[in-house]
Symmetry: C2
Subunit: 412 residues, 2 copies
């Protein structure tokens, strides 16, 4: 097993930081050849100065000079959305870790797939919005899509040995009529009965629903088991995070939505489970640290030693499991509806949720308004079957505008 | 996937009964072609009359007439130890489920392997006493050894996808010098850090050790989570069952003894776990019913639907894990010592334990005497490196005689 050359999109966020930690922990297995960030020039330069990748990229072009000055060596510098696509396709890169919040990772991910790079996906939007397109492109280009979400990474581990090989042909870019044989694979989920996503339940797991109205951003940002960015932490509190993950699992593993279920597991030790046709269940367990799934995605199909602590069963004491409060946390049923309808509805749900979460963090709307806004925008949408990427991005824009309108009318 | 033709050795015991239940549950996947029992002629006939296998076998030759009269059809009838070997090698059979208590399953298992039959192993003695020989013979003959113990079956499931192919040559029986290429496989455990066997802890998990002396057979036979035969139920109470399983796991998966550990898990839902080099752990979960592992062994590498209940997470509430009380339950350390020493010591330990358990059930010795007898006999043994089957069976006989002597001196 050789060292994998990785480009990180979203190097200054929570996942990016964990990925840098993994690279330090297993230097003989992971080499960072590119680092990209949205707008934090100083933090990007700081990371680059340590890791010294050949290429860096800042999406916010107005800050390129700040970046250049803060760098103590001379990497190749990319800028803007176009730069993000270019660094994702670096000749030197083998895998792109996509950890950009929001829709910005979508085009670079597809560009990376077409360039034959494996994808490590931490940005839920990619598979929620365009799961059908991304997975098809990956199959046709013979590249691997490795989930970095701890839940999907857990399911990936539980499905080890359940891959079936595909032979596909793809057009080469040079000559329209020439076809290239590509070896690819897909999951054989014929004997999977249920995918069981575990959810910590967030900080309001046991709170009476009549108290939801007075929840503050500070309270919602206190996640009991995971240390993550603000958007995903609020999504964990509303359970929209789990809803998005249901749709993600559906596309990633080719399992119908009705076979994707959620179980509340407050300790966040079991990261997800697969129940097979014979009634037997496999589960993946580890402490709540994103370094575990990131490393697995990078070194797969191998596993290598690291400095992460394994489970100490003498200190684990107990693992609990509960049925979600579907009535009080409507996100799960909204997500099931979006995933089952398909088309642009998952993108609409995702965009409306992003706007609503930002408005909640900005103290413009209440905690339960997040669900109300999302449902309202979902109800207004006009369905589009088998949308292409442009249609999906248009739906995203439309839903953001609609959600902003809802925020305005709800403003308190 | 076609129907598998299975011979059951030990058809009238607890595992045999579960296997008959599995065959009724998945008739299109499992066909019973042979049933063998030790001495219960009536029960064997009753099972055979329902299932109508082509062949039956009773080890106790004095009861063949009783069997013949109780049968309502005319199967081929085998008798005695020799008959057990013959039915295990039936031309028509593809897999032999070995579920005979004691050492009786050893020779038939080796005969079945040589005849190219896959082995489903429920009798711990086979791998504890002769793990090295059995696994080597299985590899050389290209047959699969599928564990039916729920713990080892769980580990097998967690290791799915971790097999590496071997090409071995075996001598054909007809001409000494002619070699046959056999495709075989072994586990690739290079990235396995620990095998974690779960143990219910038995009925005395929380009992103060100063009360062990007054434990009655009736108390020891009340297992909190599993419904099993008397010998294995006592072994669960002493933790010798887990000790034997440690040695079994060592041979079955080719993992060093020091990597095999035990965790107490009173709910018996997690049947065992594998911790990998990267600190991630996979676990297998299901309710405590031997039909799960038996079916998996029969249908592997496929899984098929059945009528067994899958886990209901709304009713599971909690799973607990504790470190074993090594000082109070010496069986685990005795087993580790036996497994690490290898040679004939595991056979000696196993035989002494069988005699001691029988004496306890017969109220001749106290509960803690079981450990004392086993340790005493282990201390007296003279080690033999790489013993053959005869040396192992001799050690078994020697240890039984020594243990009987200990029982006599301890009799109360």
């Amino acid at each position: 097993m050789k060292r994998k050359r990785v480009v990180i999109l979203g190097a200054t966020g929570s996942i990016g930081e964990s990925a840098l930690k993994v690279a330090r922990d297993i230097p003989e297995r992971m080499e960072i050849v590119g680092l990209a960030a949205n707008r934090n020039a100083h933090k990007l330069a700081e990371a680059a100065n340590k890791v010294r990748p050949e290429s860096v990229c800042l999406v916010d072009e107005t800050k390129i000079d700040i970046l250049r000055k803060a760098l103590d060596y001379e990497p190749r510098i990319f800028a803007g959305e176009e730069g993000l696509r270019e660094i994702a396709c670096l000749t030197n890169g083998e895998m792109v870790l996509v950890a950009i919040v929001g829709t910005g990772g979508l085009r670079p991910s597809l560009a990376a797939i077409e360039a034959g790079k494996d994808l490590a996906v931490a940005s839920k939007e990619i598979l929620v919005m365009a799961g059908e397109i991304v997975m098809r492109e990956a199959r046709e280009n013979g590249v691997h899509v490795l989930p970095v979400d701890s839940e999907h990474n857990a399911i990936f581990q539980c499905l080890e040995g359940k891959r079936s090989t595909l032979n596909v042909q793809r057009s080469t870019s040079t000559a329209e009529n020439s076809k290239l044989n590509v070896e690819s694979w897909t999951w054989d989920v014929s004997d999977v009965r249920r995918i069981i996503l575990t959810a910590s339940g967030g900080p309001f797991r046991e709170l009476a629903s009549n108290k939801f109205d007075s929840i503050t951003p500070e309270q919602a940002l206190k996640h009991p088991t995971w240390n993550m960015g603000p958007k995903i932490t609020i999504d964990s509190a509303t359970l929209f995070n789990k809803g998005l993950e249901m749709i993600e699992a559906h596309w990633l593993f080719g399992v119908e939505m009705k076979r994707v279920e959620v179980v509340i597991h407050p300790q966040s030790i079991v990261h997800s489970m697969v129940e097979f046709a014979d009634g037997s269940t496999l589960a993946q367990l580890s402490y709540s640290d994103m370094c575990f799934p990131i490393q697995y995605a990078v070194t797969w199909p191998y596993r290598v030693p690291n400095t992460l602590p394994p489970l100490d069963f003498s200190k684990l004491s107990k693992l609990e499991f509960f049925t979600p409060r579907y009535g009080d946390f409507p996100a799960l049923n909204l997500a099931r509806r979006a995933g089952e309808a398909g088309g642009i509805l998952p993108a609409v749900m995702n965009a409306a949720n992003e706007v609503a979460v930002a408005a909640f963090l900005d103290r413009q709307v209440s905690f339960p308004s997040i669900w109300q806004i999302v449902e309202e925008v979902m109800n207004r949408h006009a369905s589009v079957a088998h949308p292409d990427l442009d249609a999906i991005l248009q739906a995203d824009q439309w839903a953001r505008a609609e959600a902003a309108g809802c925020v305005k009318s709800l403003k308190r």
